[in-house]
């Protein structure tokens, strides 16, 4: 079947892109990591020289010991290999999810393994951004539909202006403002989402998480739904001018069915793929928003890793980001092809 073959092609394509991008990033990272590792080795060797047995050694032996230890570490970190070799190794490790160990960062359960750290924080980002994404896309689509139906009305104009304004707002700044208003002034929500409540019983836990999640959630929804409404408005207005909508009306199909059946169904391929794209895309771009609210997800981990110069963690998170992006692209194609009987051609080529 053409669809399956097309999809396989897309996946292979995405995998090639993934490998290439990871290779490029590995090359960059290795350059940076080299200098950093040298400093680390110096420090580690110096630490070992504080050993009392070291003090008792003769000057010559001391020199020999230092050289020996340095060599040991250089080998351990693979610095004795050629640059290309190291980049290749790094690429391979990253692609096989062997991100290595963090220096100081720990996962919530105390692991230093980067993949474990990421695995433990990823669900939290998904929880926040997926919930928010579902809410704002539903609100956005509904508002967009209404405003498309009354194109030119004051509601429509209002939505368009709101969308234009929210396009130019930094989400994290809105977050700061909301903290000022709702946490500082009104005291309705906590200013910081961290730490998340401990699990005792389900109801209390869910309530606690919701309470901590409320402010970031409101912020994300507030900033995004205008743009969504605007996009779906334009999409729907385009479809409303299609002949088949007129035909449906002439057939006596109730207006509600025309809008939610014909128009929305015809817009569905675009809307759903766009949703997938933004949902998965938002996970990576959430660094600042999570930082502002102290939401302990992937974004905040990213931030922490930047602050602490945790190269392995940054590398791991970057991989997850790129992977999510490419995954979104393939998934969008798959869904588009599934929803639109006409074309089995990718949407990501058109987004």
């Amino acid at each position: 079947m053409a669809y399956g073959r097309y999809l396989a092609l897309r996946i292979i394509n995405a995998l090639i892109v993934l490998v290439v991008v990871i290779f490029v990033i590995s090359a960059l990272f290795n350059k940076v990591a080299e200098d950093q590792l040298k400093i680390t080795i110096e420090e580690q060797v110096r630490g070992e020289t504080r050993n009392p047995t070291f003090a008792r050694m003769s000057a010559e032996k001391q020199k020999e010991f230092i050289a020996q230890r340095k060599e040991y570490y250089i080998h351990m970190y693979g610095l004795d290999k050629s640059y290309i070799q190291r980049v290749m190794d790094r690429t391979k490790d990253t692609l096989t999810l062997h991100f290595g160990k963090a220096h100081e960062l720990r996962s919530p359960t105390g692991s230093k393994e980067v993949s474990t750290i990421i695995k433990e924080v990823l669900p939290r980002s998904i929880l926040l951004f997926t919930t928010a994404g579902i809410i704002y896309s539903i609100i956005g689509i509904l508002v967009g539909l209404k405003s498309a139906q009354r194109a030119g009305s004051s509601l429509d104009k209002g939505i368009s202006i709101f969308a234009l304004v929210s396009l130019s707002l930094p989400m994290w700044w809105v977050g700061m403002i909301f903290i000022l208003i709702f946490a500082f002034k009104l005291g309705w929500f906590p200013a910081s989402s961290y730490p998340l409540p401990q699990y005792e019983n389900l109801l209390q836990y869910v309530g606690g998480v919701l309470y901590k999640m409320a402010l970031p959630l409101i912020t994300i929804v507030f900033v995004n739904f205008g743009g969504w409404a605007y996009t779906s408005r334009n999409l729907v207005i385009g479809i409303l001018q299609e002949d088949f909508v007129m035909v449906a009306r002439a057939k006596g199909v109730p207006e509600r069915k025309v809008i939610y059946g014909h128009v929305l169904r015809a817009a569905a391929p675009s809307i759903v793929t766009l949703t997938i794209f933004t949902l998965l895309g938002s996970l990576g771009g959430a660094i600042i928003t999570e930082t502002v609210f102290n939401w302990p997800g992937m974004g905040r981990l990213y931030w922490a890793a930047i602050q602490m110069n945790e190269i392995p963690v940054i590398m791991g998170l970057t991989f997850v980001n790129i992977f999510l992006y490419l995954f979104a692209m393939v998934l969008a194609d798959l869904v588009y092809g599934y929803l639109d009987p006409r074309i089995k051609v990718g949407v990501s080529g058109r987004v």
């Binding site: 073959r5 097309y6 396989a8 092609l9």
Partner: protein, 329 residues
């Protein structure tokens, strides 16, 4: 009279793009045989109407003659010049000789060009007219020739400020400004209202008489070809099935496909109201990538014989320069 244009064994195959997987599997490249062996001549200051349904390859023939695409096989000679091998400056010179007018006057003129720019472009390309005023004069003259008058009212306009008929006149002016001797008119009136259609056809006739033009008139509308052309060629799936004097072919069609086409032409005879005309044809046009064996018309032919499946009929002169590609009529 000597033929100004001769077409012999003209073929154009378009390869079907293979997917990545297919090419890996070593699947053979398939072709859409848009034009599959076409021969015809056109005499100077005459018009040949090339008639057929959409997808029959008639537009491809037009593009081959204007050298917008290169033929897969066959020879085209215009005034004795072999068109297929033209290159560089020779090709550019050829472009002055042969021009094309398109079906959709909305699409064939750049919407961001003013009428002046539309007409100036060919002059600039061929370096005609040294000064602005010289070019302007040529532009004015071209517009007057197609009866866009007064020209100064129109040169500043954008195409969307003109009616469909006026736009088609501008297309002719653009083609005529290079003073070609041969024009390929690809359905020049099929997008226009009936009343304007006549206007453009009259214009084309007038230009022909004044300039001694030769036309290849591509159309699906046989009735206008009777009015406009001297000769007619009926195409079906990349081949000519019948060819000859336009009156002879229309009044005395031989090929079953021509008969079907003619019977399908609506005629304004109100007394025949509600009479269900028999259209002697079956099914629909097959895909050009999948041309039937033997006579390519046989699956739709009402008089098809067994032999039609295997033997491809030749275009044979049945006297009076009336050529037919069917041995059973």
């Amino acid at each position: 009279m000597d033929p100004i244009l001769q077409v012999k064994g003209l073929k154009k195959y378009f390869p079907i793009k293979l997917s990545f997987f297919d090419s890996i599997r070593g699947r053979e490249v398939q072709y859409v045989k848009a034009v599959d062996g076409v021969d015809f001549d056109i005499n100077e200051t005459e018009t040949l109407a090339l008639v057929g349904e959409s997808g029959c390859g008639k537009t491809t023939v037009g593009k081959l003659i204007t050298r917008l695409i290169d033929p897969t096989e066959g020879v085209i000679t215009l005034k004795g010049i072999d068109v297929a091998t033209l290159k560089g400056d020779d090709l550019k010179a050829y472009r002055k000789e042969v021009q094309m007018v398109y079906q959709d006057p909305f699409a064939s003129i750049n919407p961001r060009f003013r009428i002046y720019d539309v007409l100036e472009e060919p002059l600039l390309i061929h370096g005609i007219g040294e000064s602005i005023s010289e070019r302007e004069e040529l532009i004015f003259r071209a517009l007057e020739e197609v009866k866009i008058t007064p020209p100064e009212d129109y040169i500043h306009r954008y195409p969307h400020m003109l009616s469909g008929g006026q736009r088609q006149r501008v297309s002719f002016a653009r083609a005529m400004i290079l003073e070609p001797s041969f024009i390929v008119a690809d359905e020049p009136v099929s997008m226009l209202d009936v009343s304007i259609r006549a206007e453009i056809l009259e214009l084309m006739k007038e230009l022909q008489q004044k300039r001694g033009l030769t036309y290849l008139y591509i159309t699906h509308d046989i009735s206008t070809s009777r009015f406009f052309a001297q000769n007619i060629a009926v195409m079906y799936l990349g081949k000519i099935v019948e060819m000859g004097d336009v009156r002879e072919v229309i009044d005395n069609p031989l090929h079953p496909y021509t008969k079907a086409l003619l019977s399908a032409v609506p005629e304004p005879i109100p007394e025949r109201r509600d009479m269900i005309k028999e259209i002697p044809i079956k099914g629909e046009v097959p895909n050009a990538a999948n041309i039937p064996s033997g006579c390519r018309f046989h699956p739709r032919c009402v008089i098809a014989k067994d032999a039609c499946r295997h033997e491809e009929p030749e275009l044979v002169d049945r006297g009076n320069r009336h050529y037919v590609a069917c041995p059973y009529v």
